[in-house]
Amino acid sequence: MNALAEAIRPEVVQGPALWQREAEPAGEALVSFRQVGRQFQAGGRSVQALQEVSFDIRRGEIFGIIGRSGAGKSTLLRTINRLESPGSGQVLVAGKDLSGLNEAQLAQARRGIGMIFQHFNLLSSRTVAQNIGLPLKIAGLPQAEIDARVDSLLQLVGLEGKRDVYPSRLSGGQKQRVGIARALVHQPELLLCDEATSALDPETTQSILALLRDINRQLKVTVVLITHEMAVIREVCDRVAVLEAGKVVELGPVWQVFGAPQADATRALLASLNHELPADVAGRIVQEPASAQSELLLDVRLDGVSGQDPALGPLVAALGPATRLLHGGVERIQGRAQGRLVLACAPQSRNRLGDLARQLAIPAGNIRILGYVDHA
């Protein structure tokens, strides 16, 4: 993904390989929300879209915002570049309250902030290339330079063939990629992404995520990212905030929030990631062993706190050689193995669960007995 470095800021040398990166020290705040509130009127009711939101986004991090549909994520993001003005409270960007700026200053400040919109917001009257080049045109760059940058971004998002096509002629994912390219073209210091990959296939999503990670690491771009794809958060974010009904209900490093979610909202959001019990297994569970062939079903949650990868030897030693992995697995988040294993084992292993917890270095509470199934 060095293409980006070339495309955007040729002078930057390549950063260290990604995996070598250490957890960064708590950095300086780039965005600070201070008691931010926002209320809307609609259909005769008032909706409190944001409520006493207070937290910081640090310079250089990739910050995720998740939450249920309608939780206020987009509204919060939009207060950062003041497309939405907070009804109460303050939003500081680099220590400054943008509400105090005049038009020219606000525009100048916004030039340092890129935004990818949930609904793309492409200009229908401009071709793909013209849409992407617009921020540069507005900034007054010469056309030759604009063309060069636009071309390399087109390549980066895989739309070389659609250069002179109008947005109405694009597929959903193609539109989204135009929106991404447009948000990147003016080398923002801060990038706001509102569901920037929702319309993209997994492969393209991966390449866009790699791109985001790249500009984050190499160009020190701070990224704020709303997404419904927990895998995306897991893969690229440093910290994540969980919004629920306009309030921040959880905030922390991704491995912590994902590994040991505290709020109900978080748990609900992560449910799918946590490998919910598949229907074919769930349907067969009974509370007492039905026969001699019955197996004990265990749910083992690895929260990554110990930092250890689950060793299978002790596991088999504790549960017996007939132990089968029915479902679940391990994901690595920020270098920590997290996940959930649904195991089937001999019913008598029931007595050795404390042992198992010790072996795997997890709290005993992380092991749950689901019941018994007949080994078909």
Binding site: M115, H119, L123, P135, K137
Partner: protein
Amino acid sequence: MPDSFDLYLTAAWQTLQMVSVSALVSAIFGLALALLLVTTGPGDLYARPWLNRVVGSVVNVFRSVPFIILLVVLLPFTRLVVGSTIGVWAAVVPLSVAGIPFFARIAEVSLREVDRGLIEAVQAMGGRKRDVLWHVLLPEALPGIVSGLTITLVAMIGSSAMAGAVGAGGLGDVAIRYGYQRFDTQVMVSVLIGLVVLVSVVQTAGDVLARRLNHRQ
């Protein structure tokens, strides 16, 4: 009664002159006024509610005055601008003065249709207000504006008939003078055919251009 084809040619040429110049003036100033109307309302881009009300009222005043009265009321102004109160150029002034607020109201409608999300997009990329005007409002509303200008042009061809009051001639004036005042149906019908052709050409050209410019679907 005119027996020569010359009469029609001269009249057509006068109409073309009057209407094209007035349309150009109306397009420019009308569009500027429309932008003012659309952007200065409360909560709008430039939010100058007071200015908005003044501009709106001025537009209303000019739209209230029947064209024939406007023509006469404007005579001193016309002389100031074009140095004469008769002829094609003298007709251009009242036609423009009537055309500007008319087109402003029409263009206003199209400008108001522009999706707010697009304005936000340009603001978010650091666009200033003029960028919003230039890169969003105008280009996105352009197909509608072109159609609106077509309507204005055709209306102006109609009004230019009254420009005979200042001796400017033109097709419509011939129709009035011969057809209306002299009951000469033959001349009137010939002239009307010319007008129909002119209007059809304008309308078709406007339609084609608007369709070309529309990349929305």
